[in-house]
Symmetry: C2
Subunit: 200 residues, 2 copies
């Protein structure tokens, strides 16, 4: 088999989050016929790995095996240098079951203060993407964008930790930037660029 | 970039084990110019993931980034159904720092007996292989062979847990089989066949 994704190919998105399905489908430019793991009623695996790449791989492989289709998974988050990379793979979990990212951002601010570090300390967003074939190989890529923490949070665009992230060389947070400007440099865009170069 | 490995390409084997380097180099049929992570003085990452695939990926990516070369890593082990997949990713660690697999096999036997299960219970070998490009994608494959535990251990060929593994449909343990016969069906051979189909 060749490691290629063909236009129009059926692809299961290994997520149960409807917002993420819409976002991934949009990034994929309607190139594929996408269906979500949630729509197929596939089980949601526990994210037991310690890295973004490991968790993306685990989710893609689980969906490919359970669904019998090529599967795409992502795993992403914010890492603060002062917190040894936290929240990292726990980024979503810091927002709690209610997905309260205002709470998660306050938590980052408190932990940075406790560590005695500047609130504008270095941080980065990471996005890992994995594509897995049923009983076959998997391809994993990772994109990263470096920046600095920004408190108080600014902007109501984007989602998650976007309001406390200002990319290096910029003045606006991801929460303030035009979607097109953010999409030109984001960790997710960089990961998708690598995926496209490898598989499209 | 195309996800292909070219003949003669330089490849770093992400292992510090000289025996494994020899074995991998042999399987690769001298197709590539191989050098080991040990020879290059690369750091040995901690194997923190919970799956064979995750640990192979982690090791390949660490070697690719540290060495600036395409890297190949493997992670493999024996899983017993009665022990919920143990020793699994801990297969090498059960042998202790002295790599005493006679001890590790006794440990499996004791745990099976404690679980009140038959000593001939189902088990399987898994081999995950990962190839990572520096700052680029990674490809992960997995091969598996099913069999049954065999006590007392038999045969002095192979290595590791081979003397207590009899493949389904066979009468000899991996420790008793001719190398060519074992290589025709082993988890490692199956993983390499998938890797070759994808990348060679």
């Amino acid at each position: 088999m060749a490691l290629k994704l063909d236009p129009g190919q059926r692809l299961v998105l290994a997520t149960h989050n409807a917002g993420k399905v819409r976002e991934l489908a949009q990034i994929l430019e309607n190139r594929f016929e996408v269906v979500s793991a949630g729509e197929l009623g596939l089980p949601e695996p526990e994210e037991t790995e310690t890295t973004f790449a490991g968790n993306a791989l685990l989710k893609a492989r689980a969906a490919a095996e359970a669904g019998g289709l090529v599967a795409l998974a992502d795993d992403s988050g914010l890492s603060a240098a002062a917190l040894d990379g936290a929240p990292g793979i726990f980024s979503a979990r810091w927002a709690g079951p209610g997905k309260d990212f205002a709470l998660a951002m306050r938590h980052v601010e408190e932990r940075i203060a406790e560590a005695g570090r500047r609130l504008e300390d270095a941080c980065w967003f990471t996005c890992a993407l994995a594509v897995a074939w049923p009983d076959g190989p998997a391809v994993v890529v990772e994109g990263r964008v470096d920046g600095r923490l920004t408190f108080p949070p600014r902007g109501d665009r984007g989602f998650g930790y976007d309001p406390i992230f200002t990319p290096d060389g910029g003045a606006l947070t991801f929460g303030e930037m035009e979607p097109a400007a953010k999409d030109a440099m984001s960790h997710r865009a960089r990961a998708f660029a690598k995926l496209k170069a490898a598989l499209f």
